[in-house]
Symmetry: C2
Subunit: 438 residues, 2 copies
């Protein structure tokens, strides 16, 4: 247990430090080579890498519509029903985010508009690995559907049968995803960013992944012929704020929910109650022994931090300094604390709001800024699947009204041609006036 008030400034910083991210020169080089290979050899390179890393017998990168149908219909009724419920909640919450276009007359005769439009083509990346992630399909696919993106494609590595998990096929169908490609890793990111004969180029790539995927997303986002990406990534993390009234078993289960994501997951408990911290620690040990993923959660919990703060206000300051991806507030009248909370990707209020609720089904998006990025990036939302552009239209009167100001500013900046573009128009209007149009 860390006693916050006893720490020096430097010790406080260390207590909240995150693990270094893999960004070695070696990783950059390997990923750069994969991207170059996909760029020069296209599908052949993507197939080669997929055979090497995922499924040796791969014949085609395309998962056929027939296979998708068969897989989707093999999902159990219970899981299909759960996906349906999650889909509906996530859709409702993202429907509510649909923005309104703006039209405004700023000066008589000067009309300005801001319009929102969906991105044309989006690429959704779903990692393979130890468990299928239909929830991530929903978190990426539903906003793409609600935004109205014309082309929604999904890349995910094939499993040992050369297919994908039925739940992923079912969730993808719900979201109207048009195509599923059997590839993962940096090669999938490169294919979506640059396009191959089989895999169309997309405008923006979304989704989580390992260090190769993260590095590849970064590299393609720096290329003008590449793709935009959702947000920078880091290991997942939770910070739980709890007082003496919190249920220690609940607190422990929320810390462990985070820990089971991966050995580099960060779990932090901050409380003003030493008794709560002690009972949460004991509950963690008890629950840990029952988990099937204990071998993943245990090393993560070895890096867990239990911080004792002098007061609830101090505990909130610790959370603000950390800027957690997930912030769980198990304090009496949790909502009343919101005005003091500065940074978090998503906030879970009260005893009945575990992280699992937002991870799966409450309606909020589970793609959130990690690694302190909650200070300057947003949680994923509908707007990330759209772009904004502006329109302006001046009438002759608008030009008469605004022309002199534009000319004065252009002149102050020494930009003659900008000034002349207005002067010529003002002159034409003056000439028209002279001819009796006044």
């Amino acid at each position: 247990m860390i006693i916050w008030s006893s720490l020096s400034k430097l010790e406080k910083k260390t207590a909240l430090s995150r693990p270094a991210m893999a960004n070695s020169q070696q990783l950059k080089q390997t990923v750069g080579d994969i991207i170059a290979s996909v760029e020069s050899k296209g599908d052949a390179a993507v197939i080669d890498f997929t055979r090497k890393f995922d499924y040796p017998d791969l014949q085609s990168l395309v998962l056929s519509q027939e296979n998708i149908d068969t897989l989707a219909s093999s999902v159990t009724a219970e899981v299909a029903g759960a996906i349906d419920i999650a889909f509906n909640n996530i859709k409702a919450f993202h429907d509510a985010q649909l923005p309104s276009d703006i039209a405004l007359t700023t000066t008589p005769g000067v009309n300005c508009e801001l319009r929102f439009t969906p991105l044309d083509a989006v690429g959704l990346y779903i990692p393979g690995g130890s468990a299928p992630l239909p929830s991530t399909v929903l978190m990426l696919g539903v906003p793409a559907l609600v935004a109205g993106c014309d082309n929604k494609l999904l890349c995910t590595p094939p499993n040992k049968q050369g297919l994908i998990a039925p739940e992923i096929a079912y969730a993808a169908r719900k979201c109207g995803i048009e195509a599923i490609y059997l590839c993962g890793g940096a090669q999938a990111i490169a294919a979506m960013a640059l396009g191959t004969d089989t895999i169309p180029q997309v405008d923006k790539i979304f989704g989580p992944g390992n260090s190769f995927v993260t590095e590849a997303k970064q590299q393609v986002s720096l290329r003008a012929d590449g793709a935009a990406i959702d947000m920078p990534a880091g290991p997942s993390e939770v910070l739980v704020l709890a007082d003496e009234f919190a249920d220690a078993e609940f607190v422990a289960s929320d810390l462990l929910s985070q820990a089971e994501h991966g050995p580099d997951s960060q779990a932090i408990l901050v409380s003003n109650s030493e008794a709560l911290i002690e009972s949460a620690k004991a509950a963690v040990e008890r629950q840990l022994s029952t988990l099937s993923r204990a071998d993943i959660a245990r090393p993560a919990m070895e890096n867990a931090r239990y911080i004792l703060a002098d007061s609830i206000d101090d505990a909130i300051l610790v959370s603000n300094a950390y800027a957690p991806e997930h912030l769980i507030v198990q304090i009496e009248d949790a909502r009343s604390l919101l005005p003091k909370i500065k940074y978090a990707g998503s906030i879970f209020l009260g005893p009945w709001s575990p992280e699992s609720a937002g991870d799966y089904a409450s309606g909020t998006n589970h793609v959130l800024p990690t690694y302190g990025y909650a200070k300057n990036y947003s949680s994923l939302g509908l707007l990330d699947f759209m772009r904004r552009y502006t329109i302006q239209e001046l009438s002759a009167d608008g030009m008469r009204n605004l022309g002199p100001a534009i000319m004065a500013l252009a002149s102050a900046e020494g930009l003659d041609a900008h000034e002349q573009a207005v002067a010529l128009r003002m002159q034409k209007l003056a000439n028209a006036n002279d001819k009796g149009d006044a």
Copy 2:
């Protein structure tokens, strides 16, 4: 003149190609060294670089409030009035973009919220160079003011007097910018991203610049301890769509407005009228000879492209393929073409809407995606100065209603602890029920 329908697919691509951007290994290294130097030596490094590149006698990085006042009050009444008009229009258009928070009950007892909040600290970069740019101060400063960012600082290189242009001081005052620092280039970007004793660290950096500034913004945006940035940058560009009814002098003046920004500026005219193209070319020659910045505009116009399309619809397809930063539509009933126009940072409709209007005073933002980024990035707006986060709060009923779906999904993903976090809560509710609470 390029006859579009005569070109092969490859020739079309070449006709719309943009100049390669400077991103040599040398540039990366130089900028990386500058950032490392600012990181290790702080203010001393920033002062050294500024003395070397901008003003040898620099004493302090801070432009005193007294100096700002004196400079601001020395602006002529005409220019001050023009800045006031531009400020009011830009403010009105960005005020209209203020988003509304969302609160939604997705399932009975499950409340989800999306909240918008201003970024805390933003760094605005204003280049030095041949002309002061008060308009850019407004385009960055007004949305920061409207968003409500607590800390708005501005970096700009000192001029030959060790000061800044009075117009910049005046515009900065209007926007409530709290501090102005006398530095530019990669060193200014590094200082804002990492912080020094004098210059506070910011959450996000905005603004245009040369290749050093652009590279520095990219490098700091890749660091977890760095800062977010507004958008990727490229040379400025305009595409003018015109028909036979367009005024050739207006068209020429709009092409030249773009060309005078820099020798790498791109100016493209696409028309279905050969006569209009010929008269626009002649008008460009005539107007060019009168411009004070002809030596900048002339090389840019040597790379200008005049494209003859078979029809207005074809001309729009050319524009969509190019995805211009600025799109000027000087075609009869320009507004009716909007549904066909796919990509542009900002669209200027009709004869009385020159690019200068949006550059300075109509109200729209002049920071726009260039280099084809209009396909996947937005024009700068109020939302870029804010971040979004979510909140969820389940009541006991909410947990009862949603718990089974969450558990089914967690189980399908093999995440026991996620399931357990819900199971424990469901159990507690069931126990409470058994005790007569039902």
